[in-house]
């Protein structure tokens, strides 16, 4: 209930702010950034809201590759976000919770940026999922599908649902299941051509241009987190493909246009913590989309990181610890 009310407030604020933006006031204030222009301001100014806006500008501009990109609204301009980084005003506790969620995102964003300034081998990307906050909406699943342009049958982050008890005493629990990015990944050693590997920052990746599509790694993953791209499309059986199916996937920082016989069709695919977004300074799509703010992301090698705080909270568990795979996805129970 608390979340719903605070979200309503936020939406009301957005509705109030957008006409002003359309009128050009805000655009004139923050400017319109062309892709070839670099942001002039300090990359890490004092106000996290401000730098986040600029950072997104830069990242979006990089991805747009030549097309003009409008800057998003500065978070600090949105009602309800003014208190980010400051003490919460003496409002109702529900509003404070909403602010806290936003502050979490901003903090993770800041930590991400801090981690990116370190050499890649000194980062250890880690995800924490709070199962008490997950509402099972599957927004992360959909966001992941949209972000990575995933075809039918390829789902990097399904949400497992469990129902216990009998009516009226019924409980439902939800467990999002991304790739665990194991520190000792069984999928890597079985690959006959070394097409799948663990990066220095711990993310397990697939070299689409090397993968022969033998699917041995799928059998070796203890979490069922690998998928084969069979080359199917959502519009199979209809006169033509939809534009969203023609658009290339941005995975691994490249443009992968799906076509019969060409990678990633015929490859094994998996979650890679949205590596292309990380490299652009953005959090994984599932983290920013999470309605319940249940997914956290950061650098475990950073002792002050949010994820480290959560992992050491005493609530953290990992799946199939007995397999010795040392997953980098933690669940708070």
């Amino acid at each position: 209930m608390a979340t719903r009310t605070s979200r309503r407030r936020l939406l009301r604020g957005l509705a109030a702010g957008l006409p002003a933006l359309a009128a050009g006031g805000a655009l004139a204030q923050v400017g319109v950034l062309k892709a070839h222009e670099k942001p002039k301001s300090n990359p890490l100014p004092g106000d996290p809201g401000e730098w986040r806006g600029q950072f997104f500008q830069q990242a979006l501009a990089e991805r747009a590759n030549g097309s003009a990109v409008e800057t998003p609204v500065k978070p600090s301009e949105l009602p309800g976000t003014a208190a980010v980084g400051q003490d919460a005003p003496s409002a109702a506790p529900r509003a404070a919770a909403a602010l806290s969620e936003k502050a979490d995102l901003v903090r993770m964003q800041e930590e991400l940026r801090r981690a990116l300034q370190k050499p890649v081998d000194q980062r250890k990307w880690t995800m924490v999922i709070d199962l008490r906050k997950c509402i099972g909406c599957s927004a992360c699943t959909v966001a992941c599908k949209a972000e990575n342009h995933l075809p039918p049958g390829v789902v990097y982050r399904p949400v497992i649902e469990e129902e216990t008890g009998t009516y009226p005493n019924v409980t439902r629990r939800f467990l999002p299941r991304p790739c665990m990015q194991c520190d000792d990944p069984p999928c890597v050693s079985v690959c006959p051509v070394g097409a799948t590997s663990k990066r220095p920052d711990g993310i397990v990746v697939v070299d689409y241009n090397a993968c022969i599509g033998c699917r041995y790694c799928i059998t070796a993953c203890p979490y069922g987190a690998r998928y084969f791209d069979f080359g199917e499309n959502y519009t199979d059986g209809t006169p033509r493909k939809e534009p969203y199916e023609e658009a290339p996937s941005p995975e691994y920082g490249r443009e992968w246009k799906r076509d019969r016989g060409k990678s990633p069709v015929g490859n094994v695919r998996k979650c890679q913590f949205c590596l292309h977004r990380l490299n652009a300074g953005m959090l994984p799509a599932c983290v920013t989309t999470c309605v319940g703010a249940a997914t956290y992301f950061g650098d475990k090698n950073d002792p002050d990181s949010f994820v480290n705080e959560l992992i050491t909270s005493g609530r953290a568990i990992r799946l199939k610890e007995e397999m010795g795979t040392d997953p980098k996805v933690y669940y708070l129970v």
């Binding site: 699943t141 039918p152 049958g153 390829v154 789902v155 399904p158 949400v159 497992i160 649902e161 469990e162 467990l175 299941r177 069984p186 050693s189 079985v190 690959c191 006959p192 051509v193 070394g194 097409a195 090397a210 993968c211 022969i212 599509g213 033998c214 699917r215 041995y216 799928i218 059998t219 070796a220 993953c221 203890p222 979490y223 069922g224 690998r226 998928y227 084969f228 791209d229 069979f230 080359g231 199917e232 019969r260 016989g261 990678s263 069709v265 015929g266 490859n267 094994v268 799946l319 397999m323």
Partner: protein, 429 residues
Amino acid sequence: MRVAGARRQTMVPMVLALLWVVALAAGAVGVVQRLMTGHELSGYTSTIPWGLWVAAYVYLIGLSAGAFLLSTLIYVFGVRRLEPVGKLALFTALVCLLAALLAIWMDLGHMGRFYEVYTRGNPRSMMAWMVWLYTAYSVLLVAELWFALRGDLLARSAQPGFRGRLAASLLGRFGEAFAPSRGTAGDPDYDATADLRVVRVLGAVGVPLAIAFHGGVGALFGVVGARGFWNAPLYPLMFLVGALVSGGGLLTFIVAFFWPERDGERHRDVVSLLGRITLGLLALYALMVWAEYSITLYAAIPASSRPLYQVLGGPYPWVFWVFQVLLGTLVPAVILLARPRSVGWVGTAAFLVAASFLATRLNIVIPGLVEPQLPGLDRAYIDSRLTYQYFPSVMEWLVLIFVAAVATGLFYAGFRGLPLVVGRKEVSS
């Protein structure tokens, strides 16, 4: 009466030839579908990523290893009674290997990248080792077969007609340059002893190689810790024994029905001996299956035992009970015990053993994949490619029929064109 018999003698090959042509044509349709549409028409999924073709590959490569290891009984371990089937065993091993490679090649997501296993192979992967080992094995097999055939090819190369020309071309310059003996076509002083020595050495090298590569296929499954059903140290040994059972069965069947002089006592002796070897191996394999099943079911650890319950009573229990147990074990065992000296019965029993072993391989490959890796994963996202049900699609069956037709055609061509069943004077007793 004699006319009817003669008509039957010409009708049977005609019908078989027609069947073969139909199988090849139908299979070719499947291959074209596979090449044109990739994996879109397949029945396997992301959750059961290996299906009929992988099982067929394991089956065929087992037949190859089994036939080869039986050939070493003759060339390495000196079981002279089996001498006449030595070359046939080697050739069978070669054909089965080629068919296995064709089946697994079709299974790859990117068929054009198979060479990467050589150019950028991962030495930590059992699959890479398997490929390297069977590459070495295939080279060895061709060389051994060539040296085993060389004497007969020399003799045949002097004959007119296609067979003579084929023999001469197979000998080629390579034969003259690298053969240990100095015999050439038509040379009356040709001595097979040196060739046989080479065959013996190659066979001796081949024994550990065949054990390594087919044990390696077992290890390929056994090392997958994520699959409780596969993750058994017994697997490499079971695969080896399974290879010997199926390879022995196939060889017995071939010798029983394709031998040129099928009514002699010597033929009966050879078939009977091969039948007894097959029976012994069948009993050993049944014991291993019992060990695996009984211990797993008794321990009742879900990751291992649930797939077994799927085998025994899942959606396709007939694969186990009808093909593996009844037609693959009980019926042939009874026949081999009751009619050990009947060429026809032993050949039939051996055929049952060899053919139904595909069911045994399916019961290894598929059940290991039918259990969700995490409880509830099967219901987390509903999609036809994420289902834990598998039955091979029409395209998969057609491709398998194509592989079988190609293998049969290759075998028949070799059987007719090469001196595989001509006993050499030097070695025949």
